[in-house]
């Protein structure tokens, strides 16, 4: 048995069709053992990655994300993959991008300080349309901050962290089960749209243990990138085939493509002094996500049949959602109508969904574990339709349900 990416047990025998077979999936399932487990969020992320077909992990130790690397280092050899502890987070993202081009689904996991270091190469992944998954188990910052405490402080950085214009996808899990499920989704989005996908976990959910149920083959969809089928001489690695997502050749298949972070033409070769070429490229990079927002954006709506005047709106995401669930129950018992919109896809931002909520409520509060990040995006989407109040909490502790209720009752004044 050889050790190589599953996608190419031998590069010469490389099969361009989706390579993650039922047999392969079921073997991974056996490696992961029990169907129902009591596991941490960081561990569930690793399980999700392996079930999605991830065969390469590169990382650097950082609290509270290290457990993912630990699990990957134990399990990847068991499934024939590769795990490496790189010299830093910059190298980690570099390695997963390289691995992706060599035909492996790849992932790294980090927290705030490491995520900051990764930004240049995340921009490179966006520019070169490299599928890869970056898990950010957010902790309190700025700087070293509170290493062992959770936060939601990297929401804006996830979208705007690298220079220039680009779009990517970011998902926020709120339970350990979702850490597993959304990691699989992250890989699927990343392979579908050829884009880096950020899993915005946090130190609380990363270290929380809960019941998880592992999926079986058929319960989930597993997507592999679209590969070129045209003759080698005709292949243009960055030509739009109408979907805005070009077919991606894997290195070693003879297509000879040149991948660069420089502004490049459809051929892949640099054309850095051409305004129209740059515009066309970067516009397509943004549009391939924006045009597909309906397929990418996930939200949960818990709306009541109540009049706008009496109804308060809450927008939540990630682990904070769980406090809101609890607060909403109490508020409704006390006779306060609440419409709760939970954002699952933080980026691209669900503007229309937030705008729709704004039309149903007299005000919106945005509880989050920072001093106001998604608050700004909500205000922009609400565009004056109703007042928006930030409800930030920092320092490593979640809001209590009572604090959210008090914020709502207070914001009525």
């Amino acid at each position: 048995m050889e050790h190589t990416a599953i996608q190419s047990t031998s590069a010469k025998k490389h099969k361009p069709a989706q390579p993650f077979t039922r047999e392969e999936f079921e073997r991974v399932r056996r490696v992961l053992k029990k169907k129902v487990q009591f596991a941490q969020g960081d561990v569930a992320v690793a399980y999700g990655a392996l079930l999605a077909g991830c065969r390469f992990f590169a990382g650097y130790p950082i609290t509270p994300a290290t457990e993912t690397a630990e699990i990957m280092s134990r399990l990847l050899p068991q499934v024939g993959g590769t795990c490496i502890q790189m010299e830093d987070e910059i190298a980690s993202v570099g390695a997963i991008i390289g691995a992706s081009w060599a035909g492996a689904k790849s992932m790294t996991a980090t927290s705030g300080p490491g995520f900051s270091l990764m930004q240049e190469n995340i921009g490179y992944a966006a520019m070169t349309e490299t599928p890869c998954v970056i898990v950010d188990v957010q902790r309190s910052g700025p700087s070293t901050g509170q290493p062992t405490e959770g936060a939601q402080g990297d929401i804006m950085q996830a979208k705007w962290g690298s220079h220039g214009d680009y779009e990517l996808i970011a998902l926020s899990p709120s339970t350990v089960q979702e850490c597993l499920d959304f990691t699989i989704k992250a890989f699927n989005y990343s392979e579908t749209y050829r884009v880096p996908v950020i899993l915005l976990a946090d130190g609380i959910i990363g270290h929380t243990r809960e019941k998880i149920e592992l999926p079986e083959y058929g319960d989930i969809q597993i997507i592999w990138r679209k590969e070129p089928t045209v003759p080698k001489a005709e292949y243009q690695p960055f030509a739009d085939d109408g979907t805005k997502v070009p077919a991606m050749n894997v290195f070693g298949t003879g297509y000879h493509s040149y991948i660069t972070g420089l502004t490049h033409a459809e051929t892949g070769y640099p054309c850095t002094d051409s305004q129209p070429d740059h515009h066309q490229l970067v516009q397509r990079l943004c549009d391939k996500i924006r045009d597909n927002r309906k397929k990418i954006i996930m939200v949960e709506r818990d709306y009541e049949n109540s009049t706008r005047d009496e109804t308060v709106g809450i927008v939540s995401y990630g682990v904070t959602t769980r406090t809101v669930y609890s607060a909403v129950k109490t508020l409704r018992q006390a006779g306060t109508p609440v419409n709760h919109l939970r954002i699952i896809t933080n980026w691209p931002f669900p503007e229309q969904e937030v705008a729709e909520l704004a039309g149903r409520v007299n005000r919106i509060i945005v509880p989050e574990l920072n001093l106001g990040q998604v608050y700004h995006s909500v205000r922009e989407a609400v565009d004056g339709r109703c007042p928006v109040t930030a409800c930030g909490k920092i320092g490593g502790e979640m809001h209590t349900p009572r604090e959210i209720i008090e914020a709502i009752n207070g914001s009525a004044d």
Binding site: K12, R27, G80, G94, A95, H256
Partner: protein
């Protein structure tokens, strides 16, 4: 003369990308030519050969080749190359880099890849300065060297890149200059064939940049400088200790060639042991 033959040109170059951005007298072309000849001699399947580079003049080389190329971010080529190699160990991975890219911003990746002994061939065009940004001081600029950011002469000690590679654990290390193209080609060939981290440092002219500011305006000036300032390893070893200490010359040649466990081979063994059917 050591010029790319028709055979090499047709087999390996991406015609539509020529002419190159390299200046007249630049050493990169010679290094590239030596590399392609070495690849041809080894008989590498070009479909299975991946060129990875960072940012800088030498990092543009993969863009002129008809092969898979990954032109990455500044300093990070070796980290990306590590990912390529580990994800598919059957690929041959060749890194093109320069002194600023590899030893400045990317120094950490360089020493760690050498330490891990990942099977990469790293070819570093050492032209003593940041050429692409217009002649700034680099980690290999000699003491006293004039650049745009060391206008009064460089006061920092330069790195000996090959010594750094040896210290970090590389399996194969050779240092040559562009005036020794055949030796350089042989070194690259041996580096490619070496199962492990191979590092080939090539002293190269930058006539437009470093050369112009340091009395080496033409390519041949650098050759003369090399002739004056380098000494072959075997000749150096014949000198007495006192002579070695006082000669003040750069030792060139094959500086290390050892066998040691290589990362992907070791990982394969580990997978053999722990793989679960």
């Amino acid at each position: 003369m050591f010029r790319p033959s028709k055979h090499i040109r047709e087999k390996y170059l991406e015609e539509e990308m020529w002419p190159s951005i390299f200046c007249q007298g630049c050493g990169i072309g010679t290094v590239m030519n030596a590399t392609l000849r070495a690849i041809d001699k080894v008989g590498l399947d070009i479909d299975q050969t991946i060129f990875v580079s960072g940012i800088g003049c030498s990092s543009r080389v993969p863009g002129y080749l008809d092969a898979d190329g990954l032109h990455t971010t500044h300093g990070r080529a070796i980290a990306f190359a590590t990912g390529v190699k580990l994800a598919n160990p059957e690929l041959t991975v060749i890194v093109f880099t320069g002194d600023g890219d590899m030893a400045g911003i990317g120094g950490n990746h360089f020493i760690h890849a050498a330490r891990r002994n990942v099977d990469l061939t790293v070819i570093c065009v050492n032209n003593y300065n940041y050429g692409m940004t217009g002649t700034q001081v680099s980690p290999t600029t000699p003491v006293g060297g004039i650049t745009m950011t060391s206008p009064y002469g460089n006061v920092e000690s330069p790195f000996d890149l090959s010594a750094l590679a040896i210290g970090a654990g590389a399996a194969y290390v050779a240092k040559w200059a562009t005036m020794y193209p055949h030796e350089m080609m042989t070194a690259i060939k041996k580096g490619i064939e070496k199962k492990g981290f191979a590092f080939i440092e090539t002293l190269a002219a930058c006539p437009t940049g470093y050369g112009r500011k340091n009395k080496m305006k033409e390519g041949k000036d650098h050759m003369l400088w090399c002739k004056e300032n380098t000494i072959g390893k075997s000749r150096y070893e014949r000198l007495s200790e006192q002579e070695q200490n006082s000669c003040g010359k750069i030792v060139i040649g094959e500086l290390r060639n050892i066998e040691k466990p290589e990362f992907t081979a070791e990982w394969s063994k580990l997978v053999e042991q722990h793989y679960m059917e």
